[in-house]
Symmetry: C2
């Protein structure tokens, strides 16, 4: 009997986690002696609506991939047997068997605010290596950057109140749930319900009971007492299964004082219910008990609750955050910008109707004003002497990591710290304000020359 397949990604099948055309091109480059060094850059073409800035995320998993990418015997066999590879010389399969990524990588650190057209990652290596890694790098950086950029909006809307990621069940599969938990933490969430994210990444994990717990007992009161017996020091109760205010009174009548940590509302009018529950608790001397709210929350609903002084201490946010529901994809792309040919560095670009981009290895220079607020970014060529803080840093050299990946807590601190440098207008949920990103004069000139050269042919 055939066993069901899990479809897990692991170090043995990493080589196949790619688009098929990366492999055909790789074979073609090898056969045509075109495996010279090349540089690709990964950037977001346009900011999605309601994202005046993004938070870079996903680099650590991208670096794991680059340091562990191999083609197992099984993977090479699968490729070799594909009809398209019938005429491909066996050198290519030998090449795959010995494959190691050997290149240089520059990246903008995770937790940094970034904007459209700014390279988040720059990869320089023999052409085949740069090409083969495209799909995985994009899937990794696109997704975590998408989610960190959504999470930071939710965190801003909560104005310092705690935000917890509760989204695992609605994420795009089990791995997306863990990756989303990581990205939400980078975006400023304090904790997650995802246990694997807790164990792997040290993110605080949180959670108490579901409605099924309450329903499993003959009475709500019995269910609360049973939970308190099992967790006597940290009793947190879900109070919306049948009648929220009645359940809040039940919680009060347990008489467990400061062992009652929190109550959670998951349905109904969260504004009026939270006020009603707060009143019941306060009148019973339970001012310390926190109110957590959940149920289809997003940055707009949290903003409205906060503007109406909802006494909610913790927001549990799920679906909307881990799928970035209003903008569920980032248009990140990965483009050849420079190439070594005939011993020279040749800038490359594309200029089909609606998809132009700039040639050559670039750097992003960030300029702050006198108050330390980000004023503008200039995308220039590498090592340009125009001032500003260069954002891209070396992270891999000759296929090896240059430095230890930062702790996740430090990445989160980078996000939160950088928020204090962002212009206020960019932090509003709805804004017309846009951050200024220019190209340097040298880059504009280089683009003009490259395009002219290409058009002449």
């Amino acid at each position: 009997m055939r066993e069901p397949k899990p479809l897990f990604i692991n170090e043995d099948n990493l080589g196949l986690v790619t688009d098929f055309y990366q492999l055909t091109m790789a074979a073609g480059y090898l056969q045509n002696n075109m495996n010279h060094p090349a540089t690709f850059e990964l950037f977001i073409r346009r900011l999605p609506e309601n994202r005046p800035f993004l938070i870079a995320a996903g680099l650590e998993q991208a670096l794991h991939y680059l340091t562990h990418l191999r083609f197992s015997r099984e993977a090479v066999e699968y490729i070799r047997r594909h009809p398209a590879f019938k005429h491909v010389h066996k050198d290519f399969f030998s090449y795959l068997k010995k494959f190691r990524f050997s290149g240089e990588v520059f990246a903008i650190p995770e937790g940094t605010p970034v904007f459209a057209e700014e390279p988040l990652l720059r990869v320089t290596a023999p052409m085949i290596e740069t090409q083969l890694v495209e799909t995985y790098l994009l899937a990794t950086i696109n997704f975590q950057t998408l989610i960190a950029s959504k999470a930071v909006r939710v965190v801003l809307a909560a104005r310092g109140r705690e935000v917890v990621d509760f989204g695992s069940r609605r994420a795009h599969g089990s791995q997306a749930a863990v990756l989303a938990a990581r990205a939400c933490f980078i975006g400023g969430c304090r904790s997650t319900s995802n246990v694997l994210a807790g164990q792997q990444l040290g993110i605080p994990v949180l959670g108490t009971m579901a409605h099924s717990w309450v329903m499993a007992f003959d009475t709500e009161e019995e269910s609360f007492r049973a939970f308190h017996r099992a967790f006597p020091e940290n009793t947190a109760l879900l109070i919306d299964t049948y009648d929220t205010l009645r359940a809040a009174r039940l919680a009060k009548e347990l008489n467990i004082g400061d062992k009652l940590l929190s109550v959670r509302l998951d349905s109904g009018d969260l504004l009026s219910l939270s006020k009603g529950v707060r009143k019941i608790l306060d009148e019973a001397g339970l001012g310390h008990v926190k109110i957590m709210a959940s149920g289809d929350l997003n940055e707009d609903r949290i903003d409205e609750l906060m503007r109406n002084d909802a006494p909610i201490d913790i927001f549990g946010v799920g679906t909307e955050m881990v799928t970035s529901r209003d903008q569920p994809a980032l248009g990140g792309i990965y483009k050849l910008v420079e190439q070594e040919r005939y011993g020279r560095h040749v800038p490359r670009m594309k200029f089909s109707e609606d998809k132009v981009f700039y040639p050559s290895s670039k750097q992003v220079y960030r300029f702050l004003n006198h108050s330390g607020i980000y004023e503008r970014d200039v995308i220039g060529v590498e090592k340009e002497d125009i001032g500003g803080q260069p954002l891209l840093e070396p992270v891999m050299h000759k296929g090896k990591l240059c430095k230890e990946p930062p702790d996740l807590k430090d990445i989160q601190s980078r996000t939160l710290e950088s928020l204090s440098h962002l212009p206020e207008g960019l932090k509003r949920l709805r804004t017309e304000e846009a951050y200024t990103v220019r190209k340097s004069q040298r880059l504009e000139e280089l683009k003009r020359q490259t395009e002219e050269g290409l058009r002449r042919r």
Copy 2:
């Protein structure tokens, strides 16, 4: 130096791929002697806008999980050390170490059209087992059902023309890319660019070259010739890097006859460009050369192209399909509906303000009209004698699979076959038509009694 973490899901960490509250509840059930058999059902509360039906998908991965779920020593250690578990008796950790899912599972087969409130999965097992598996089951079934239901819309819009999944780079991480490829195939796509999906699932893989290939050569013509040398029998060319119509003429001038398989357009006005390219090819006697189009396509854009007779043979669809961009999440939930207490089966339900659902173990009965068209579904209690075809089938018995998982190709055939039984109105991209789903009289009566009983307490 700390190594970067991949955040892969594997059989050793499956136990932690869950929400924290599943573990606290599990400990609480054990301590309170509440580990009696219980039944949970997984269903979609409401159909998303523009989804008059859904295609069930993800069951195979859910079954892999149920048959392989264990708590490794490392996982148990992590849970034991969590402060919330300080007072939990060691029996719970022994329980986890020996954990095996031992229950019964009924499911609607993958590839079946389903509607709101219909249980896709019904799990009966000791309470702790049913509870612990909630998060993973939801993440798995929600996502693949979401994507299969989007893919089928794209496939319907293409009116028999081929649809290929090109979405890996925009999926929510590398595993989501593979899962999406599977779900797209279930929804009727013919092939994918994802190589791992090809190797693991036997889905045909497709792909040729990226713009970087064309840009890497000094001239476009040289890039085309080089590709033809490497893939002499299956030459497929990307022709929109600089000037699409000019490149179509270049392709023609290669004079490679029937070795030229296809050309791909990825930008610009796909309608006029495809017509222009078709004309150039046809006039050169290259009527056999297929035109593939890609670039932010979705069901609406494909529908418009088809209504205007665009001569496009293959649609490459990415971002919009693998993220289900217009509706990027399904609100699938998993609810306790029945429980054994005091030796009796007790139906369970919840009726907080906006989230009511029906109690007891259910079955879905589908009724066809004289022409074989689906007429209505009735959600009733199990083994009700009301006619109709029962959709839920046994898939696990005492923790073991009851039958071999169907081949993916057969699941796709089930989808495509069932489309011919769906009322025409439901297959329109925009429709006001809704399929009739009723509850049986017995189920309505049971709900009334259960609610009354609960309110009396």
